[in-house]
Structure formats: C-alpha cells, structure tokens
Symmetry: C2
Subunit: 344 residues, 2 copies
Amino acid sequence: MKVTIKEVAMQANVSPSTVSRVLHDSPKISDETKRRVVEAMERLHYHPSPVARSLAGKTTKTIGLVLPNGPDDLFLNTFFIRAMRGISIYAQEHGYFIMYAFSQSEDIEIEFIKNYIDSTWVDGVILATTRQDDRCIAYLRSRGFPFVAIGRPEETRDTYWVDNDNFQAMYNVVNYLVEQGYKRIAFLGGPLGYNVTRNRLAGYRQALVNRGLEVDEHLIAEGASFTEESGYEAMMRILAEATPDAVSATDDLLAFGGLKACDEKGVEVAAVGFNNTVRGAYQTPTLTTVDINPDELGSRACELLIGVLEGEDLPTNHFIVETHLVERDSTRSRAVAQVDPRLT
Amino acid sequence: MKVTIKEVAMQANVSPSTVSRVLHDSPKISDETKRRVVEAMERLHYHPSPVARSLAGKTTKTIGLVLPNGPDDLFLNTFFIRAMRGISIYAQEHGYFIMYAFSQSEDIEIEFIKNYIDSTWVDGVILATTRQDDRCIAYLRSRGFPFVAIGRPEETRDTYWVDNDNFQAMYNVVNYLVEQGYKRIAFLGGPLGYNVTRNRLAGYRQALVNRGLEVDEHLIAEGASFTEESGYEAMMRILAEATPDAVSATDDLLAFGGLKACDEKGVEVAAVGFNNTVRGAYQTPTLTTVDINPDELGSRACELLIGVLEGEDLPTNHFIVETHLVERDSTRSRAVAQVDPRLT
DNA sequence: ATGAAAGCGCTAACAG
DNA sequence: CTGTTAGCGCTTTCAT
C-alpha cells in the first residue's frame, strides 16, 4: 500500500541511503542521480514517513502546546485562538506539526508535559500562558526540556519567552491621552505582584514625566484582580480623593469597572483598556484598547522554539512583540461614559 | 537515557515480547510474571514510545484537526476554541493525541489533509466545519480515510458527522416566543441553500402550526449571507409588507441587522439569535440566543472518530447535540430594540 | 505462558 | 559520490 524508500530506490536504481540523501538534499549527490531519484519519488507518489524518520532520527518535528483551561470567561477574549493560529501557520511553514492539549489544572498540565516528554512525542513545548511561580516552567527547566513561554517568566535566565513591551505599551497609551487633551490621567492596574502591572505603571509614570505632567499618587490604584469588580473598587478609591478626566487601565475588564464607578459618581472620563476584548468593541461607548497581537506572540514563540530545536545560534532568548492601539469612542470627543444598564 | 522495553525485560527476567504483552494486557500472561514486569516498569520509570509503537503497529493514536482560517471575525465567536477544548478533553481520556492546523483556503486545507494522510501521522481527521459542496469531504471520501465532520454534510451516507438538531432548536425558539406572548414572529434566515437554514425554517413553520398560529409568508425572509447587512436587508423586505412583534434569526449577526432595520422603521420587536456570540451578551439590549454547545459537538466528533478507529460497531454514524436557549433582554418585557449607534 | 526472530521505514556511520 | 550495515523501540508471528 504505502510506498517506501526502498521502492523508490529500486525504481531509481540506487540504494535507500541515496534516496535518503536526496531527501535531505545532501551536498554530495550527483545531479544526475538526484534527478532520477526525484523523478522516481514523483512517479510513485512517495511521501516519507515522519514516524519512521522520528524513530531513526531522534527528532519528531512536532511541538506540544499546553493550554490552560479556565472558566468559560477565559475564552471571552480571542487570545488563545489567535495565538494558536499564529503558532500553526509558522510551524507549517517550517515543517513542524503541532499537538495541543487543554488542561484542567496546573497539576494536570504537568502531567501532560511529563507525558509529552516521556513519550518522546514532541521535541519541545510551548506554554500558552505564564503564571506566577509557574510550576510548569519549573518542571520543564528541571528536565532540561526545550520550551518557550508566552509571557515573561519571573526568572528569565536560561529561558526562552515572548511578550509585549508593557512599559512601552502603557507609555504610548498615556502619550496618546495627553495628546487628546487629557490632563488628569488615572492608572487602574491589576495586582502589583505581577510584572506586567509594574512595568505598565512604570511606563505610565515615565510618560507623564516626559510630558511635563505631575504624577499624582492619588490617581493610581491597584485592583485586587483582573476583574470588573476590582476595577470598580479601585476606581472608587481614586474618586474618593481625586477627579481624573481619563483612565488608563491594564485590562479591558478593569476599564469597564472603572467606567461604571465614574458613571455612578457622575464623573466623565475617557478610558483605555488592554487586550482588545470583543466586549470592548460593542460596549457603549466602544472602548479604546491596546491589542497585544496574539498571532505574533504565537508565531514568535514558535520561531524561537524551532530555532532552539534546530540548534541555531539564537542572538536572543526572547522576542518583544509590538502592541497597537485600537482607537474607539471611549477616547473620542470626551463622550459621556455610559455603561450598559445590564451591569448595574 | 531513554529507558526501553529491553531494559524492562532484563530487569524482570523476561523477554521483550512478554513486556509488550503486559503492556497490552494480553490474557495469557501469568499474574506472577505480570507483577514482576509491572514492578520493573515502575522502578525504571518506563514509558513506551508511541513513535516506535506507531511504526511497528500501524496506528499512531493521533487525530488531525483541520481548522478553517477565515477573516478575523470568524473568531468573534468562541465556537472553535470551545470545540477544540471538547475534542482535546475527550481525546486525552482515551489516549489519543491531537494535531491541528489552520488553513488559509480550501485548497490548502486539502493539502494539509493530503499531508496528514500521506505522512501517516494521523489515524483519522476531524473537520471543524462543513461547507456546501465540501471538497475536503469529497477528498477524504475518495481516499477512504476515516474522518468525521462537525456539521451535517450534504450527503450523509457513509459519512460520520455531528450536528445540532436545527429543526428542533428553532421549533423551541418559536415556542418560547409564543409563550412570551408574541404572535407575529418573523423568520430571518441565512441562504436557503444551506441545510441548516431549511431545517430551521421547517422547525419554525411546525411550531407555529402546532401552536395554532398562521404561517404568514410575508414574515419569512432569506438573507444573502450570514452577516449583519444581510439581516438588515432581509428585515427591510419583511417590514415592507408586514409588522412583526418578534424575530427569530438563524444567527446573532442576522438578528443584529434585523434589529437595526426595525429600529429605523420604529418597529418594536423581540429577537432571538443563534450561536451565542460574545457580542450578543453586551449588545443593547442583550440578545437572547441559542447556544449550540460547541464543546459537546467537539467531544462527540472525537468520540465518533475514535470509535471508528478502534473498529467498534457503532450503532450510528452521527450524533445530535442538544442546544440550549440563553435568555436575555431582547425577549424580556418587550424592551425597545435599541441598537448601538456605532452600527448606524 | 513465554521466547526468538523478523520487520515497520528511515537514518547514519562506515566503507569504498 | 554511493552502497552496506546496523540499528531506533516496539509488535507480532511462529515456535516451544
């Protein structure tokens, strides 16, 4: 049924190893022979078996993708599917296959990884997210297995990762707001325990300073988590002491909560979020947001991993992916911040 | 490095074939021997190599998932990621791996499938969507390769597939609307060329009849595609001849367009869509919709395929997955159908 | 109930 | 430049 390397060899009147050499276009093969072999391969519709190749060659050319499995709202944003697409496209172009697995918990994730590694199915692993104190990363490190993380790990030494430049992204947001004429810009962050929050806060401060604006600590608040409720609470704390005319939030959800708080207090503010959630596009007003470019985060992660696997001399252990601002109504013409009544 | 079947065999003082038998727990193995072998496997942390097993055994225990790659709005709804999760979970539980690939066009999809098959990487394929006149299906059929389609294929003979009961889903929608007190219910469908549209229309008619309501053909319109614009146009045609008090659309997008048309004409209507898009949850008013249960569609597809691969005697060549109605404001208290100004 | 041996399809020294 | 020879780790007759 399946046509093998042997048959090609016979047809071309050479040995299997010669065919193998043609397959990898080894330099030392006469053009004439190569021609004959290629022709035979085509005539027979020959396709090398990756399975056999893997067994003999010690490398499977496939990558394992580990996905978290949170509550459904994890899927409200299109981050994962876009990242998966980015990974897939890059992998295809470079002859790699992708296996994926959703997990239920961090423990199970580690099981998958163990399984991936022990079964020798995959050459390397991509982690779709990075947690605080990430045990998957710790495990992969301990096994010395090639991997790359989407998101900046706490310890970046000897680790490959991709992420956005969070400092710069927030810097740009604040800059943009200042240009729109806003002067009292609040910062609504997630927990400061996260690098991402701290980096964005730093970007916020720097932008104000560079613009010659004062940094008012009363305009800065930390949310307990990346939720709408946290955004609401944090904004309420700000409003108790100050009156912003704009708010830069580190997540769309925080922005929604913040807008709600402002609405209740009758304070008009412009708002910018992060992550380009679908909801932000249909909320009233539509929310200006920072798109973190998940496709490229995915393809870069893949690029890095494949580079490692192919033993290339990588100039870097990480990639910084550009973000871009999606301008919408929440920062235009100082629209009144109306929130959906449903949320009240 | 990697511990193989041989070492286990030595440790247990048996031959490799015996170890292999224990692995598949063959009946004719003495308990004593089995015990020794299992013990040795554990002591050595033995993990069989799926690659070697595949080469020897002719089966890879992996499934190829083919995903379309439309414009970004394809990802507005969470259908694919949810289906992928369903597939992944089921596959894991049954010892299968999943490979996936996004394609750019139908041509390329076929290339992937060819690649999957010829390379003998996968035992079977799942198609994440079904098109009219689907060439992937035609190709897979022609090759006689095991596959299952998510969505009902035009020709169901000798084909495995999973889908919702579209007749029943729409039947239930209309029933629900009647119970809410609506009497002049419009049907806003996608192209009638699709089975899904025809089936839903049939469910619509039947429900009206069973409720003793008249079917007014003026209340039925076919959209040119599954877009907001089509919904708008189709609704305008209806409004030219009739005045509905509710609209049942075969997709959230059609519903959005229909609501916009009604709004312009000053006609108040209740509305129900399909597919539970994220946008529907935040639109004003929030949209009642039918959730088609993508997770189960995925896991059932996987179940069917694995059944086929394992040579089970399947009682059926398809599964019908239940839908459920997500009640929201658009069908409550006859709320005024306000559309986002952004859409005008 | 268990072992020996052949082979799955390909790669990789090692010869020439 | 090209052929020969061993495997890679496992399954699977065929014996015993």
